[in-house]
């Protein structure tokens, strides 16, 4: 699959403060790329560097196989739709008047405008002034503005911020519709649950560094879930393992962390040799949210 966005050791420093460090990001064409990280992890700065709104301190960005910088920005931006920070829109104008401004600026035709409005299902709201829109409507208008140019790549910075659950679900649906239509979508969030259902690929940023990049399944397998052992004497079992593994008693079971498959076999053998009756051995079921929290709190894999 062709890569639509690629960065090479992308870094941004403000004085001595490093905001983004050696980022090697790649987004395959046609995917929904969920760009995750806690607030302040460098997501917005990265997205701005992808759009050449912020100049990298080192490293580079390639979009659709061509370098993205000040000299090529104008050419690229005709094919990249984006929604960065708060949704755009002049409050004193109607939705339609706002769309006309984008239409005139980019030299778009009426069909492109109407298609973008229909895609975000805003046909009935276009004659209202934007100051009377709800946040969800403003977000959708912002996406319509980004979509009107029929982009190959759509970059959305926290589009679900401030939306209610219904609005978030609508946004997910919209992202899926766009991806089905062949648009590559990069969407950032600080909440995994908001985008993990729609994202086909994930990149996780922590303190400016990419700590994970891959599919959801790869993310699960990258984090080792705890081993839970149900036995006849959990306290004694935990004491026996204290020297060789990180273990504790948790709700009547022995919980052992960071245990590889080979180490698990060794632990079970040790307990059996001490005549402890083993009833059940299993991996703890982790939600993606827990994996994400583990990665970002721990600072990396």
């Amino acid at each position: 699959m062709a890569t639509i966005v690629a960065t090479e050791n992308l870094s941004k420093r403000y004085g001595k403060r490093t905001v983004v460090e050696d980022l090697n990001l790649y987004i395959p064409e046609g995917e929904i790329y969920g760009f995750l990280g806690p607030n302040g992890s460098g997501k917005s700065t990265t997205m701005k560097m992808l759009l050449s709104l912020v100049q990298p301190s080192s490293g580079g960005v390639e979009i659709m196989g061509k370098p993205m910088d000040r000299s090529t920005r104008r050419e690229h931006l005709g094919r990249i739709g984006s929604l960065i920070e708060s949704p755009p829109g002049y409050g004193h104008l109607t939705g339609r008047e706002n769309m006309r401004i984008i239409q005139r600026l980019l030299g778009l035709n009426d069909q492109q405008i109407e298609f973008a409005i229909a895609t975000v299902r805003m046909q009935g709201q276009m004659d209202k002034k934007v100051r009377n829109y709800s946040l969800g409507m403003k977000q959708r208008l912002g996406i319509a503005m980004a979509l009107a140019r029929e982009p190959k790549l759509l970059i959305l910075d926290e589009p679900t911020n401030g939306l209610d659950p219904a609005g978030i679900e609508e946004m997910r649906e919209l992202l899926r519709t766009l991806a089905d239509g062949g648009v590559t979508v990069m969407v950032s969030s600080h909440l995994l649950g908001e985008i993990d259902k729609s994202a086909t690929m994930l990149g996780i940023l922590s303190q400016g560094r990419m700590i994970f990049q891959g599919t959801r399944d790869e993310l699960f397998s990258a984090a080792t879930p705890d081993v839970l052992i149900r036995c006849d004497d959990p306290s004694r079992a935990s004491e026996l393992l204290a020297n060789s593994a990180d273990s504790r008693v948790d709700q009547g079971e022995v919980r052992v962390t960071e245990l590889s498959e080979r180490a698990t076999a060794g632990v079970i053998a040790a307990l059996v040799s001490e005549r402890i009756a083993i009833y059940e051995v299993r991996r703890d079921e982790q939600t993606l949210e827990q994996v994400f929290m583990g990665l970002t709190e721990g600072g990396g894999l």
Binding site: K48, L53, V54, S86, L93, R149
Partner: protein, 251 residues
């Protein structure tokens, strides 16, 4: 110059009452000039061979421009720029390839056309008024044209300054406050040394005044052409320099 961006600036003026403020600028200064002529007894001396009535109209225009233009131009610039702060317009336009500096230049051209037109209206209305009330000496059209030309340059310099200020300072109350300070500088600029008046755009209102009383008699003053041309050149160069820096600034 990006013609589409300029057209968009005119489109953004809808519902902003920019037209109302431009009309106020045109009418209020002209009215003040006429009121000054009326209060100075111009109607009793319409046939004065020394242009008494024309001189009072010139004097009134100078006073009206200094009193009204700094604040109304600040309001006009502020309204057109504030929408970019509240509507995330700087960033949104940048993602469509229109940088903040380009947008400021487009705002200057679109608002500049209106402000220049309003200033030209002062000349047309006042000369028309003078002719209508029957001033017997011919209108000094050359002097009027030069003075209105100078006022257009001064108003545009104030406009350019306020566009940059409003773009840089989000709190528009600060910008209007600076406009008020400008008004005081324009009114009381005669009290400052000439070199000081040359340093700020509002200082050129008193510098270019065409008529004032010397004792009991109103007299004409020469227009400081070099100063006005200097303002146009230096002001224009500074505006291009600062907006050029806006183009390169990071979002």
């Amino acid at each position: 110059m990006n013609a589409r961006a300029i057209m968009n600036e005119f489109a953004k003026m809808r519902h902003l009452r920019v037209g109302l403020f431009v009309a106020l600028l045109a009418i209020s200064v002209a009215l003040m000039s006429m009121y000054n002529a009326f209060g100075s007894g111009a109607f009793e001396r319409l046939d004065d061979p020394n242009d008494y009535a024309w001189k009072t109209l010139f004097g009134g225009l100078g006073m009206g421009a200094a009193l009204i233009a700094p604040i109304l131009v600040a309001v006009i610039a502020s309204r057109q720029v504030e929408i970019e702060h509240t509507g995330n317009g700087w960033l949104s336009s940048a993602t469509s390839g229109l940088t903040p500096g380009q947008m400021c230049r487009a705002k200057f051209v679109s608002l500049g056309v209106l402000v220049a037109a309003a200033t030209a209206v002062w000349g047309v209305v006042i000369v028309g008024f003078g002719t209508l009330i029957g001033i017997s000496t011919p209108a000094p059209l050359g002097r009027w044209a030069a003075y209105i030309g100078a006022l257009i340059i001064i108003n545009l310099a104030v406009l350019a300054f306020h566009i940059l200020l409003s773009a840089k300072v989000e709190n528009q109350l600060v910008c209007i406050g600076v406009g008020l300070v400008g008004m005081f500088l324009a009114i009381f600029g005669e009290l400052f040394p000439a070199w000081l008046a040359h340093l700020v755009p509002w200082g050129y209102y008193p510098l270019t005044v065409q008529s004032d009383y010397v004792g009991e008699v109103p007299v004409y003053f020469d227009l400081p052409y070099l100063s006005v041309i200097g303002l146009a050149v230096v002001g224009g160069a500074l505006f291009l320099f600062v907006t050029g820096r806006f183009d390169r600034q990071e979002a």
